[in-house]
Structures are given as structure tokens and as C-alpha cells.
Amino acid sequence: MDVVLAAASTPDFPAVLVAVVLTPLVGAVVLAVLPRRSSMLQPVAALFMLAAAALVAWVVVDYTAGAGGFAYLIDQSWVSRIGFSWKLGVDGISLFMLALTALLFPLATLAASPSRDRKSYFVWLLILEFGCLGVFLALDLLLFFLFFEVVLVPMYFLIGQWGHGNARRSAVKFFLFTMFGSALMLVGVLATAFLHSAAAGVPLTFDLVTIAESQVISASAARWAFLAFALGFAVKVPLAGLHTWLPDAHTDAPTAGSVILAGVLLKLGTYGFVRFGLYLFPEASRFFAPLMLTFGVVGIVYGAAVAAMQRDLKRLIAYSSVAHLGFIVLGIFALNVEGLSGGLLQMVNHGITTGALFLLVGWLYERRHTREISELGGLARPAPIMAAVFLLVTLASVGLPGLNGFVGEFLVLLGAFSSHRWWAVAATVGVILAAVYLLWAFGRVFWGRATGENAKLPDLSWRERLVVAPLLALILFLGIYPRPVLDRMEPSVEHLVQHLEEHAPSGADSARPSVGQASP
């Protein structure tokens, strides 16, 4: 633990993370007192989100990787009786999740404005950002759980009140699935804290670093606790089999909702696996890694196959998320530096590309009032800029070298191949499938002859171009020069892998799957 604390840089502005988390909440309160039909609602909401983004940008630039520990630590006791504290901190793993969140929220807010009840819409968005930022910064098990759970409420209202189609049903489904997942997580949180305090002989604490570094919980108990946490994360990710809420929620949510769902909310699950799976339960993570990898591969192949069959463009992208998230899980549970960095980078990439895709589909839907691929066609002629942007984002999503998706995917496969070869081989099939269905969809929507309404499609407006521009810039930047990101990530990832090796050496385990795989 001393190592970790020593690594923390001494910041000029120690409370910056508190400011980051609370800015959206203050924004929500300010917005709540504005008049219902004020024209200032959207600008004010965006202003607070941009303020949070500016603070996060400062953190990203100011962050010095050091030895991979947590920086800008804030530890303020909240309920001393149960050892619960308001502990925030950032390291290379959460830094870019934070940046992604801070980036996507203002864009999603500026991208579209609902036609009714705008005030509560923006208030919910701000509360949602508060929750998401909190999840990525919390270093206390209980605080993390609070944020993880509170995210449900705003998202539920966003889908249900401003969604399309069967929005109510999708909202309830989303809420219940996720709550089901996190119900057992609370038991896991409590069990971990109590077992730690009993085994270590210290007062009850929910401090992540203390519990993770001590590793005093018995292996069998840790495996159960891991499963309790994993179920919550697995629903959120979602792993194949627990994913049925995702296509409905993504498709029926309003544009901003889809962007945030795909871009940020799914990452809560994968981030949770890294921070509260691998770090907290290294031995259990290694024990269950083959299982998780299998889930990842099944997700990749299944998501791709189902996406290929979708007729609704938004649903297609939603299923492609299942496949992409499978990749991320594959990278994380490769349990080595390459896989983890790839998975983390892929989390950022997926947020950017899928966020952009949902924005584009949302704009398309505003213009054409349909998302049926069969009813669209030849849109490249009336809307060349939209087509170009769409193509670039699609290629990034497919993983074209030179764009951001490639770097992450490559690292994931590299990591998975070196530790779990056959899973990596199976996953490569998914790479090919993804190229097939995404490009096929692009071709059907944008190429060919435009007839009827398709021929009169207005191109992207200046405002829309401005919203999507930062995402395009990042797609290119991260594709060509990912070093600044990887440099900040790597010490923390190495620290985590070292922690894994220390408490669950890979030697004994890595032999097992290759033996198991040799027989069939």
C-alpha cells in the first residue's frame, strides 16, 4: 500500500476530482430552478458538462504516470461507524474512462434536443454524468456501488420518457436486468468488507486499496465474492446470455441516451471487471479467466452473427456493441499487459466510434423517420459529408489500420494469443464478421441509387459537423499516435499485472489451458 500512495503525484489542486464529480450535480440543481420553457436549458446543461470536461482535460494533461498508483486522492470519512469514506482517485486505468465520459456527455447533449419536457431531460442527463464520473473515480467499494446503482434512475427515465418504439418496456427491462445484477453485488461488497476486517483484524473498511493490497480473504470465499461482483458487471457489459436488455434499450433510447449507453454505461461493467475483479480478486480472476474468455469469444461471434441479420440500423449497431464488448472482455481476461492495455484502449475506442455511429443514426432518423436499412439507400449522393463521416467511423469500428480501432484490437489479440491462444484464434473470426456486416450495412444505406425521400436527404448541418468533429479527430489521432494514451495507461496496467502475478502466479495456470486445448 505504501508503494501505491508514494506513487501519487502531489497535485496543485487536490480537490479537482471532487470538482469533476460535483460539477454536473451543481448543473442539475441550477437547471432545476430555471423556468420550464427557457431557451437556456440546453446551453446551460452543456456549459456545466464542458466545465467538467475542462477539469478532466486538465487532469489528463497534468497526470504524470509515475509508478501506476492513484493520483489526486481525496479521502474523506463519510460514515465513520462503518468505515465508509468518500475516496476518489484516478490512475491510468480510470483516466481515459473519465475523459471519455467527460467528452461524450456534452456532445450528446448538444447533438439533439427533445421536443418536450426539455428541462427534466437535461437534468437527468446531468445526474447521469454525475453517476458515471463517480463510478470511474470511486475508490471505496460502497461508494462505487452507490454510483453504480444510482446511474439506473436517470437512464431509466431517459429511455422511458424520451425514447421511441416500445420505450417503456425497454426502460423497465433495462432497470430490472441491471438491478438484478447489482443485487448480489451488494452482498459481495458487504461480504468482502466483513471478511477482510475479520481476517486482517482491522475495523470495518470499504477502502478498495486497503482490501486489494492485503489479500487476506481465503481463496474460496474470494471466488464467491468475485462471482457476486462479476454478475453485476456481466449484466452491465453485457456478456452474451445476459445481453437481452441491450438491443431494446439501445434501440428505443433517444439519441443521447444511446450514445451514453453504448459509450459510457457499458464501460462501467468492463471497468468494474478491471478495478473490482482483477485488482480485488486476482486469484479468482485467474481461476475464472477461461470462463470469462469463453463468454468474450461467444459474445464476439454471437454479436457479429446477430448484427449481420438486423434490418434496423440502430439495432445492428447495438448488436455490434455486444461483439466489441466481447473483445474488451477478451483483452481484460488475457491478464497480461498487452491484453489489458488493448482492452482499455478498446473501451475508449468503442465509446468514440459507437458514440459517433449512434449520433449519425440519430440524425439520420430525424431526417428520414426510419432506420430500416431496406428503406434507405444511395444516401451518399444527397448527403456526401454524412456518408464520408459514416464511412470513416465504420472503418474505425471495423479496425482499419491507421484508425483507432486497429490499435486496440491488435493489442487485445496479441495479449490473448500469448496467454490463451485458441480463444484468440476464435476471436479473429469475429474481426472478419464485423467487417462484413458493418460495411455491408454501409453500402446498402449510402451507395446505390437514391429514390424518393432518400434523394432529398439534407446533409449534416454545421452544428452536427461541429459535434462529430472531435470524435473524428480522436479516431485519427488515436489511430496514428496512441502513445500519449498508452504511456499514461501502461504504468497502472503494469502495476495491476504485477499485482496479479504476485498473488496468482500465471505459471501454473497458463499450462492448463494449452494442455486442455491440445486434446480436442
Binding site: 462503518i82 431509466y156 420518457q161 418504439g165 416500445n166 432497470f175 438484478f180 443485487a183 452482498v187 457476486a228
Partner: protein
Amino acid sequence: MSPSVDWAALLPQIFLGGGSLVMLTLGTLVRKRAPWWLPNVLGIGLTLAAFGSVVWQWVRVQDPSRGAFSTIAGTVQIDGFAVFLSGVVVIAALLALVFAPFSIRRAGLPPEEFSVLLLLSAAGGVTLASANDLIVLFLGLEVLSIAAYVLAALDLRRAGSQEAGLKYFVLGAFASAFFLYGAALIYGAAGSTKLDSVAAALAAGAGSNARGMLLAGFALLLVGLFFKVAAVPFHAWTPDVYEGAPSPAVAYMAAGVKAAGFAALLRLFAGTFSASSADWRPAVAVVAVITVLAGSALGVISGDVRRLLAYSSIGHAGFILVGLESAGANGTSASLLYLGVYAFMALGSFAVVMVMGRDASGSQPLAAYDGLARRSPWLALGFTLLLLAQAGLPFTTGFWAKFEVIGAAVQSRTYWLAAVSMLGAVVAAFVYLRLVVRMYLVRPGADGDALASQKSGVGLADDSRSGDEDSDSRPPVAVPRSVGFVVAVCAAVTLFFGVWPAPLLNLAGDATLAVLGG
């Protein structure tokens, strides 16, 4: 020789019980000339005085140099536990009185009887909470219950209310008989009715030569008290009574009577019988699980809001039993916390239910809430907050109540109980969502339930719902100031202590320290 009496210990009972008897006497003399609001105001004054004396008792009990004390030959014990639950009962009576005028005026409840019976019942509850003797416990239980039976039947013009009163009375009397029989058997086995003597006798092994008698006593006491707190399978009266009885009375029952019932359960089992916890814990565990699951599941299928909240209160009773099951100081303080915060959620919720009224058949279908967020946004917001708190969402007191209870179960290594209860909580969350969906997501007059899947071609032109549509023909719900006040107070308490739970957790913790530690 009569025992010495420390009147300070009895102050709440004097204000509540004595005050109600004085009111009753005066009422027979001046009834014709008294305005309708006078009994209500007097009742509020008396409960406030009782609350003041409870606070004073709390300060005295928590003062390390004075501590818990007992009086009337040790049959009444004023300790942290007793004072905490007395406080809950008194607050329940106070807030029920505050929002009762609405019901008194609209349904024509007799104002004087309502105040008198409520005060009397609360006096019984306070007695129950501070009883240290099986006889006094029974005395408190009967005063509490008999007044509550009449309260349930007070809406004389409605058959549903009388049905509720009769059902409650018949089943309640039955349960009291169980309790009394159980108390007699415990007396037979332990040789005393005083709880500390019983505890000492059990610890010294008194049960070993009369084990059958002791176990039968436990079982009968449990049955009697499970009925009072509406645990499954002794819950059958609850939905009918909650549906039929006047809403202020129901609010008091859910918050106050339940707290008093649990006072007896916790005092007897977590306190007095803790030496034989191996005997009763399995029974409580099974009942707790069944109660959580059945309460939540039955809420899913009920079509009336009062019945739905009745089932939800059954589910909450299950969670409080989870705290009892862990049989320790932590479990007891968790249960106390739960009772305290649930009281506010229940009072606020039933205040909302009251203003929403009844339809011609005397029930309140879920459809009454369709589009409420548009018609009465503040009422809908307050109710939503209270419902989400009951679902246990973070940053509400409901979360901390569940957290503490599940924590107690985890700490006593009953993981299965914790896990199954949490799954029950998810089902319960769906129940509350049904109402939230109604308020926010359903247009009035539109189709039914959120899950009544009307599979429209997914994602296809369904923008009929966009565009400003304030075209709800129904007028906003008229919310009198008293009701608005109660809902606002309950919602504020729920949210404020949800964000800053330390004082609450400390309060509940201190309440048990003074009993089990000292």
C-alpha cells in the same frame, strides 16, 4: 406494598394515554360546541408533548452517567431501544394526525374518536416498546391493537372499512391468544414473567428440563407477533385491512403498529431469548425469506395501489426479520434503523394514496396514477422519491436500511439469506416501478401495464408521443397544505439522511448499545 414509580419514565404514556382519556371525557361533555379541528389540534399537541418527553428520555438514557433505568418494580425499562421505538411510534401518530384532517373532512371520519383512538394506540405502542415483563408486554400489545381495530373500522359509511375492522379484530384476537399462551408457557419454563429473570434463567439452563415447553412457548410467541408485523404466512389480513381502512389509520398501522410489533419481537427474541438463539433463528430465517419473496411477488400482481403498498409493507417486514435473524447487536440496530426510515416512507406514501382518493368501488386502481407527473409534478416527484427509497436506491434512506440489514446477515455468515433477500428486493423494485411508470411514462387513458407487451414494430414511426402534449383532461390533484407538508417532510428526511446517513446509523447504533451493551 406498592412499587415505586418513576413518573419521568411514563411521561409519553401520560401524554398519550392520559391525554386521550381526558379528551374522551371532555368530548362527551362539550361535543356539540367543539369545532371539527379541535380534537385534531389537541391530538397533535399531545403527540408533540409525548415526542418532547421521548427526546428528553433519549438524552437521559444516552448520558453515560445515568444510562438506562427501570421502574415499577422493573417491569418497565427505559433504555435506548425503548426510547428509539417509542419515538418511531410517536412520530407515526403525529404525522398521521397532521394529514388526517383531509380524510376527516372528505370521508367524514369522526374527528374526536380518530384522535382519541390514535393516541391510545400510540400509548400502547410506547408501553410495548418499554415493557420488561411479559404481562406488561401483553398489556401494551392489547391497548395498541384494540385501538387499531377500531381505527380500521372508523369510516363507518364504507362497508370496506367495517370489513377491514372486523377481519383485523378477529384475526388479531386470535393472534393475541397465541401470544398469551406462549407467554404462559415461557413463564412455566423459566419461572418468571420478568424478561431479565427469564433471560437469566435461560442462560443458566432453565430450558433444559422443560425444553418442549420452552420451544412451544417460542413458537406461539412468534406466531402471535408474526401476525402483528404481518409476516407471511400470517399476513392474510394485511391487504384487506390496508385497502379498507381509512388512509391515515393505515399509515399509522404501517409505520407505528409495525414498529411496536417489532419492538416486542426484537426485545423478546434478540434480547431475552438470545441465549437460545439456535432454537428460534431457523424459524425466523424461513419466515423472513418467505415474507420478502411473497411480499414482493404478490405486489407484482395486485391491481390496487393500497393492496400493492400493503404487500410492499409485508416485504419490508421480511427485511426487518432478516435483521432479527442475525440475532446480535448489529442486526437489532439494523432492524431499528429500518423501522425508523420505513416509518417515513410509509407515512409519506399513504398520504399520497389518501389524496388520490377512491373510485366508486372503494379501491384505487393503478390507472389513477396515469400521467400524474404532468398533472401534479410535485406530488409525483415526492411519491417517486418515496417509492424509489422503498426499492432501496442509493442516496435514499431505504438503501441504508437494506444495507444495514443485509450487512447484519452477511456478518453472521447467513449468505443465502442475504442473497435471496436481495433478489426479493429486485422483484419489489419492479412493483414500485409499476407505479413510477404510471406516473411518468403512461398517458392517461392509454393502455395498461409497462410489461403488457404491446409489440409495436420496434423502432418504427412511433413519434406520436412527441410534441408538447399537455392535453390531459383531468385536473391536477388538489393537495391540501397538511398533506403536502407531510409528503415533503417524509421525502426530505428520506433524501437528506440518504445522502448523509451517519447520524441515523449512529442513532440506531446507540439505541442498541444502551440495551445489549449495558
